[in-house]
Amino acid sequence: MIAKAGYQEIEHTADIALRIWAPSIPELLVQAAKGMFALCGIQGKKSSRRQRIFQINFSDHENLLVNFLSEVLYYVERDKLVLDRFQFTLHDHQMTVIASGYPILSIQKMIKAVTYHKLEIKTTENGFAAQIVFDV
């Protein structure tokens, strides 16, 4: 039985790619972040949680997904922080994200960028699904 929400690595010759699915757009964002961190081989150090609050401006769902992942990736590089819990508040084309996570203990791979290549969030019987390619 397939989980209602999840992620799976898919083949790409040079870069890395994920298939993600979820019943809602916020949950799709969470799965994308989890999948991206799994691809990076990130291990968090369980200690007191650190919080980050940020705003994402977007024009459509694909744009929201790329901007959200780019933002959480930025905290990996700048603050060495892996965010794994998210609360979303939506106002028109702006999403406020309250996120928390742990300092990074180890990381295997750094992603250069989140791309728009063939990115399309599709409506499915169970919600939403997309494929996303990362430049590494």
């Binding site: 040079a14 780019s70 960028a113 791309t115 728009y116």
Partner: protein
């Protein structure tokens, strides 16, 4: 879906996808490949990506694809596309996130026999001085003012600070500094990422190698370049690090709106572009040139530290431990150049994504000592295999916008490579062949295994067969430092 029967065979090394294969194509696609190499790329999406790239507004001539082609995102890796200046467009995705990713080659007078007892120590010193791997900062932290100077002055900044030798800059594409860079076009976030990453290799397929010059094919050209069989040489492969990645991300984002404003319809959002003369296009060019200058400076600083490692380990033990710059090339770049198309000289913006500039003899853009022979082209192979030094030709000027291949080209995904190859086994196997590996991550090592790449000799044979490069020397690795 295109298949091989849609291709027109031009020669044993060239194939063309006619413009009528897709109604939105503005120009045909020309692929430099043998039939065997061409058949391999049908396993991924490179062909479709090349066709998609041919839909960009303002293209001239043909979209070209090199034999090391493989699937990228938007453009295929190995792609070259020229848009008419000023009416055409510029596409950040056609240059790539790692703006001015490139290769530098240094020659030496150190023979393998002299160096062999010290290779382990040299590997350790290079690993220390030339940081590689995820999240590793460098030995230099830039101030905000210094970052501005790096953006506008490129390798000249490094030279003023004492990080360069006499003819390093002369022997760098663009002399290590692109005109028209403007830091005001760079975001605060890109700046923040750029402050502590200068002088670092990064991860992925980036590396520093000490090589043995195994075979020379053109004695007189090799002599001009200071390359002699049996001597050591050094290759440095890296780019503009997080600074360039952020600049590309920022403009791919900004151009999502620009394509709507300018009524540009594209088959893939990663191909987003803006007219070269538009405010958005101009700002991207200014920012891209900042990243290009950052990357030139990055390789210059790594060169300084590689020299320091050589001196520390070899001074007093060999007679001459100097490293002399042969050349430094970019293989992810957008450049305004003049090319002859159908007998007419046209100013164009050449996008090279995973393709190397390969100007022929006599071109004023190349150093005077190389004008009789053509521009050196540096083609690193996959880890543990050969690399090549080639030269640009008159044919590359006529047929490929002065461009040729940039490497071996992947053919196996990273996840497949990790499943098939154990990093530790690979390291042991390479070490048993006398190659010293200093790698930050064993899984990263398995992803870059030679089996994951095409045979670089086949790729080189193809560009030579097509006439868009000629052979000078083949190098084999002795030390590999990578993330």
């Amino acid at each position: 879906m295109v298949n091989i029967s849609d291709f027109k065979k031009i020669s044993d090394f060239e194939w063309e996808i006619p413009q009528n294969v897709h109604p939105d194509m503005k120009v045909p696609v020309r692929i430099f490949a043998t039939r065997r190499l061409l058949e391999k790329v049908f396993d991924d999406e490179s062909i479709q990506q090349a066709i998609n790239s041919a839909t960009l507004p303002g293209l001239v001539g043909r979209v070209l694809v090199m034999p090391d082609m493989h699937q990228g995102y938007g453009f295929p890796i190995g792609g070259v596309a020229a848009t008419r200046y000023p009416e055409g467009v510029i596409s950040p995705g056609g240059i790539g996130y790692d703006i001015n990713c490139g290769v530098r080659l240094l020659s030496s007078n150190i023979s393998f026999e002299q160096a062999e007892p010290f290779l382990d120590a040299l590997a350790n010193a290079l690993d220390y001085y030339c940081p590689s791997g995820v999240g590793k900062g460098g030995h230099i932290k830039l101030s905000e003012k210094e970052l501005d100077q790096v953006c506008t002055e490129g390798s000249r900044w490094a030279s003023k600070k004492g990080y360069a030798q006499a003819h390093d800059l002369e022997r760098t594409e663009e002399k290590g500094r692109m005109e028209g860079a403007d830091p005001s076009a760079v975001s605060k976030r890109a700046r923040q990422r750029g402050l502590d990453q200068i002088g670092t290799l990064g991860a992925g397929n980036h590396f520093l190698e000490v090589d043995l010059i195994e075979q020379v094919f053109d004695q007189s050209a090799a002599t001009v370049m200071g390359l002699f069989e049996g001597n050591l040489a050094v290759q440095i492969h890296c780019g503009s690090r997080g600074f360039g990645h952020q600049i590309c991300s920022d403009y791919v984002e900004e151009f999502q709106g620009a394509v709507k404003r300018y009524g540009i319809k594209l088959p893939d959002r990663e191909l987003v572009c803006a007219p070269l003369t538009s405010p958005e296009g101009q700002r991207y060019l200014k920012a891209m040139r900042c990243a290009a200058n950052y990357a030139f400076t990055n390789r210059q600083i790594l060169t300084y530290y590689a020299r320091r490692a050589f001196e520390e380990v070899l001074a007093g033990k060999v007679s001459n431990w100097e490293l002399d710059q042969v050349y430094d090339i970019a293989h992810n770049m957008g450049k305004i150049e003049v090319h002859e198309i159908n007998g007419e000289k046209i100013k164009v913006c050449v996008h090279r994504k995973g393709a190397t500039r390969a100007f022929g003899p006599g071109n004023p853009e190349i150093p005077p000592e190389y004008q009789p022979i053509g521009q050196p082209v540096l083609v690193p192979g996959s880890m543990g295999t050969a690399s090549w030094v080639l030269l640009g030709t008159e044919e590359s000027m006529k047929r490929s916008f002065g461009s040729t291949c940039h490497g071996a080209g992947r053919m196996m995904s990273r996840s497949q490579a990790k499943k098939k190859i154990w990093g530790e086994d690979l390291r042991n196997q390479l070490q048993s062949r006398g190659i010293r590996i200093r790698a930050g991550s064993l899984s990263g090592l398995s992803e870059e295994a030679p089996e994951a790449y095409k045979d670089v000799d086949d790729v080189v044979q193809t560009v030579v067969g097509a006439g868009i490069a000629r052979k000078v020397a083949r190098l084999v690795p002795l030390i590999v430092v990578k993330g």
